[in-house]
């Protein structure tokens, strides 16, 4: 077998490991977002998050004015298991500068 550089190659999941015990931002399907502390994850991106805030976003369009009405609802959970198949994106929290 030809020696490849693959032993040094980092996988995206390796880089998520760097975020363990850090706060992260997770974008989920169905216009949901989570912010919480990453306690654990696996290759499916199942995750255990602590001290979590979930934001659900919905956009209504007014029939007459075509105005976009953006609504968000939030809830807070001390502990949460997230099933990986709903995950779209994971990132360190967005900083509002």
């Amino acid at each position: 077998m030809a020696t490849e550089d693959d032993s040094a190659v980092k996988e995206p999941l390796d880089l998520i490991r760097l975020s363990l015990d850090e706060r992260i931002y997770v974008k989920l399907r169905a216009d949901r977002e989570l912010r919480g502390k990453l306690h654990a994850y696996d290759q499916h991106l199942n995750m255990i998050l602590g001290d979590v805030e979930e934001v659900v976003t919905s956009v209504e369009i007014d029939d007459e004015t075509y105005e976009e009405i953006v609504r968000t609802s939030k809830r807070h959970m001390p502990y949460l298991f997230v099933r990986g198949d709903g995950v779209i994106l994971v990132s360190p929290p967005l900083r509002t500068s």
């Binding site: 980092k10 996988e11 995206p12 999941l13 880089l15 995950v87 779209i88 994971v90 990132s91 360190p92």
Partner: protein, 90 residues
């Protein structure tokens, strides 16, 4: 039949796996099944098309919506990964 892609200097990639190995470090566009676009520099990716990117910008309907310093995208959401000559402010 001439093979090879037109844009980006990836002429010698023969299989999708070769392409994936050759584009690390390049600016890319990742389009998701949902239609959302992410532009950034590809840090790494794996065979499931899970992606890690840096300096990521999120475009929804062509509009810049968010910026992420680092972003990990779950591969099942990815429609395609494309290299781009990234012009800032495009």
């Amino acid at each position: 039949m001439s093979g090879g892609a037109g844009g980006g200097a990836v002429g010698s990639a023969k299989t999708p796996a070769d392409f994936l190995k050759s584009i690390r470090g390049r600016p890319v566009v990742v389009k998701l099944n949902s239609g959302v676009d992410y532009r950034g520099i590809l840090a790494c990716l794996d065979g499931y098309m899970n992606i890690a990117m840096e300096q990521t910008e999120e475009y929804v309907n062509g509009q810049l919506k968010n910026k992420y310093g680092d972003a990990f995208i779950r591969g099942n959401n990815v429609l395609y990964i494309s290299t781009t000559k990234r012009t800032l402010g495009d």
